[in-house]
């Protein structure tokens, strides 16, 4: 077992992990943060997307030990208290989800898109291209793309 300490959603957390423990399993089973989902075994679906030091990564394709000393943000760290984040509100408004399984990963990826394009602009084609790492089996994506564009607008990114 290796002891790791990391910041998760702004709080210092630590735990003992085997080297082979995946970050997503540490988050879900040891920290009880079950908002981060596992949708595949091939690193393709993006349901497990979290932010590592501010950047979206797939937590199913990282060892928990690799996150030692790093900054992690999960979907649980996105809302402020009971108030939804503008991106979460946009997903609700635009029917950006049906079963909701892909949604945490979609929101984390959406926030990555905003981060990369703040001070810049966004359009539908850019959103679709940058959503390549997230799969949804329900919505057909239109609601998700609409939600991200609305969320972007409400967060001050120019949408064209």
């Amino acid at each position: 077992m290796i002891k790791i300490s990391l910041s998760v959603n702004g709080t210092e957390r630590s735990g003992d992990v085997e080297p082979r423990t995946l970050l997503v399993d540490f988050l879900r089973t040891q920290l009880g943060l079950t908002g981060t989902h596992v949708g595949c075994d091939t690193s393709q679906c993006g349901a497990c997307t979290i932010h590592l030091n501010g950047k979206p990564v797939k937590s199913c394709t990282m060892l928990a030990v690799q996150a030692d000393g790093q900054n992690v943000k999960t979907i649980e760290g996105v809302a402020v208290g009971d108030e939804m984040h503008p991106m979460q509100a946009a997903f609700k408004e635009c029917h950006g989800l049906q079963c909701g399984f892909c949604t945490p990963g979609m929101v984390m990826s959406a926030l990555g898109i905003i981060e990369r394009h703040k001070g810049d602009h966004l359009n539908e084609a850019m959103v679709r291209h940058e959503l390549e790492g997230n799969l949804c089996r329900c919505t057909g994506y239109q609601g998700i793309v609409n939600a991200i564009l609305m969320g972007a607008k409400n967060m001050g990114v120019k949408v064209i």
Binding site: R20, P56, V57, E132
Partner: protein, 264 residues
């Protein structure tokens, strides 16, 4: 996953000596290939040597007509580097089209080259731009680096430190991407360099290779018309559920012509 020990060496010397002492140890870079392989129990290393703490393996610099990329530089850092964008836009484009944003935030050039996946993108840049692979022991020309399917010139335990890519007069990379993974069904880098025209193909064969007929034709006339009649043989090309060898041969021509057209 089988169990293994984990170490995070701080220097190149520490990493290579740990690896030399244990032939069943495995370097870990971005983990975008190694971790899925471990999950499927297709690899069973005794220990994993995480290269992420070795700062000298990271970063991009541009000087004296050369773009230098540290082995542990992730694809996003190459794609979004203003210096790379200015010096070698084809390289920034190539890195920005690998996989998806999450993969680009972890996957590295060193891991991609060491792995030598037949459909990886970076091999086309290394061969097409005439790059040099610098390891802990020597320099290997890009032309001599890829030896076959998942096979490179690297000796066991040899560590890629950085890759240097000469800035081309002009270059463009076009790929026909697998719509699910982003990997190249076929990708072609065409570069007009100080050492002549280079055409490198990835995705089509066991590993990246140069297409001599196109290079000769483009050296005479750098136009789409010059390579229009060149027929690529399907012999020895890859065939799988995504594309037949004949289709890949056809795509080599299409991607090469698109690359030349993009530079017109």
């Amino acid at each position: 996953m089988h169990s293994f020990a984990y170490h995070r060496p701080k220097t190149i010397a520490e990493a290579t000596s740990k690896r030399a002492a244990d032939p069943d140890a495995s370097y870990l870079a971005g983990g975008m290939t190694l971790i899925p392989t471990l999950k499927q129990r297709l690899a069973n290393p005794t220990q994993v040597l995480d290269l992420s703490a070795i700062t000298e393996l990271k970063g991009v610099s541009v000087a004296n007509g050369i773009v230098s990329v540290g082995a542990m530089t992730c694809h996003a850092d190459v794609a979004l580097s203003a210096d790379v964008r200015k010096a070698l836009p084809a390289l920034a484009d190539l890195a920005g089209a690998i996989g998806d944003p999450q993969v680009r935030n972890r996957g590295t050039i060193g891991g991609s080259l060491a792995n030598s996946d037949p459909s990886a993108d970076y091999p086309a840049a290394v061969v097409g731009l005439g790059a040099t692979i610098h390891t802990n022991t020597r320099q290997i020309s890009g032309d001599d680096f890829f030896k076959g399917l998942f096979e490179t010139a690297l000796e066991p335990g040899e560590l890629i430190v950085k890759v240097t890519l000469p800035i081309a007069k002009r270059a463009a990379y076009m790929k026909f991407a697998n719509p699910a993974s982003g990997y190249a069904v076929v990708g072609v880098m065409v570069a007009d360099t100080a050492q002549g025209v280079r055409v490198a193909v990835t995705g089509a064969g066991a590993c990246a290779f140069r297409q001599a007929d196109m290079e000769a034709a483009l050296a005479k006339s750098f136009t789409v018309a010059a390579i229009k009649e060149i027929v690529i043989s399907a012999d020895d090309l890859n065939a799988d559920m995504h594309a037949t060898a004949e289709y890949r041969a056809h795509l080599v021509g299409v991607m090469a012509r698109r690359a030349v057209a993009a530079m017109a």
